[in-house]
């Protein structure tokens, strides 16, 4: 995928042919990162801040669609599904949220904050050995986000955080892959591989990497700075130019 400053709000692949793409005045911001890195904590701080700044905010997260979330939980409890079947279930959940929540919110001018996006499926499926071309084609109906933040961390920093926090569950530890004798080892290996995949995606899809080894406040402050710059940049463009035109080349400050 080419790096593209004018990246937001196009169809990733063949899209949804029956959804006309009128102007979508909202903004789609994605927070990516591996299990336990602190995405939801950051989103819980970011959303109210944006609202105080005067923006309407809609939140969406992986496997949260009312249509599919029960089915997915059942499936995970059952341990019967192949990676292909799971991928299709996640894609169905994603499609449901995209059509019923994300696109309508963008149309209404909201900022949509998505906890995880299709990149989660891409990363996990690489680790699980599923066909990456198929996985990407599967999500061809998706809308590309305006901004993707990648909470970047290494396994050694992640481990204590997760142990002290919510603990390691079966799926996040890759126990289904039988990578280790115990859950800690399994988690370490699985997350290590996942993080490698995320890092590759970060370069390919031009994520804004945020050093997630720091405190919650440090990470949040970085996020706010980037989001503010992005929103200011888009405001300037809207004011300055006649439509349609390429987006201004706003260079988001990268860490390091």
């Amino acid at each position: 995928m080419a790096r593209d400053a004018d990246r937001g709000k196009k169809w990733y692949g063949s899209g949804l042919p029956y959804v006309k793409m009128p102007p979508l005045p909202g903004h789609l911001i994605v927070i990516e990162g591996t299990d336990g890195v602190g995405r939801s904590t950051q989103i819980e701080l970011l959303s109210p801040w944006l609202e105080l700044e005067g923006y309407a905010v809609s939140n969406t997260g992986w496997t949260r669609s009312p249509l599919l979330s029960e089915t997915i939980n059942e499936a995970k409890a059952g341990h019967e599904l192949t990676v292909v079947t799971f991928s299709l279930l996640y894609a169905a959940d994603f499609a449901d949220r995209l059509e019923h929540q994300i696109i309508p919110a963008l149309r209404a001018g909201f900022i949509v904050i998505a906890d995880r996006y299709m990149y989660t499926a891409f990363a996990r499926n690489m680790v699980m050995g599923a066909d990456p071309v198929w996985t990407r084609d599967l999500f061809g109906f998706a809308l590309t986000p305006d901004l993707v933040f990648y909470l970047e961390i290494d396994v050694d920093h992640l481990l204590p955080r997760v142990v002290q926090g919510k603990g390691m569950d079966y799926w996040e530890s890759g126990m289904h892959l039988a990578l280790g004798d115990d859950i800690f080892e399994s988690f370490r290996r699985y997350q290590g591989r996942l993080i490698e995949e995320y890092n590759v995606l970060a370069r390919e899809f031009d994520f804004v990497s945020i050093d997630a080894r720091r405190s919650v406040e440090g990470i949040q402050s970085d996020l706010r700075e980037h989001v503010a710059a992005y929103l200011a940049g888009t405001k300037r463009e809207v004011a300055a130019r006649p439509r349609p035109a390429r987006r201004a080349n706003h260079r988001l400050r990268r860490r390091g």
Partner: protein
Amino acid sequence: MSAVPSRRGLLTEAHPYPGRLITVEGIDGSGKSTQLLLLDRWLTARGFQVRFTEWNSSRLVRRAMKRGKKKDLLTPTTFSLLHAVDFADRLTYQIVPPLKAGMIVLADRYVYTAFSRDVARGVHPTWVRAVYRFAPRPDLALYFRVPIEVSLDRLLGGRAKLKYHEAGMDLGLATDPAESFRVFQSRVLDIYDELAGEYDLRVIDARADIPSQQRIVRRMVQETLRGYERPPGMEAPHGARR
């Protein structure tokens, strides 16, 4: 999942298993299910080991479908993907293992149903083909072609009313279910005709009487089974079903 060799997918090449996969397609009311049932009986009576699988039948998806249909929550894409989940699940447990064991698998509907119906609802034809890239190619894929009015008569004759999604009512094509059925299923018919060419579906005139159709079906199946070897130790006249 083993890597799919290229973007073209498994439908473009013969599957590697010792069993045989026979599928039927057709719009609702085409009589395909009756034909498949008769075929099942005939094969079983002749001592073949047969497994039967049917579209949209897995327990996993049933509840989500029900929920979605009740609240009119299903979009063309989620509808398509839920069917794909069902298919993937059945492929894993009900289709590939019997094929690997050398059995005959009869499928009531296959990926061509998705390629016609889901596209008639508006999903991108390239996308839906990409989604089903992991599906093995049938050894014989039959298409029971019937004009709209014949299928409508058959359906209305058998039941009080048409089902909501079967009539494409979710697409807002017409307020009257029969009219909606005509418009929606006509689109499906047009696409099936294209698919017949693209995927070598064997077209059977479903207006003919049932025994005539069945004779044609059996002849085609016999050709398909030339060179097929029954799995060892399975000579019993009545194989277990499902």
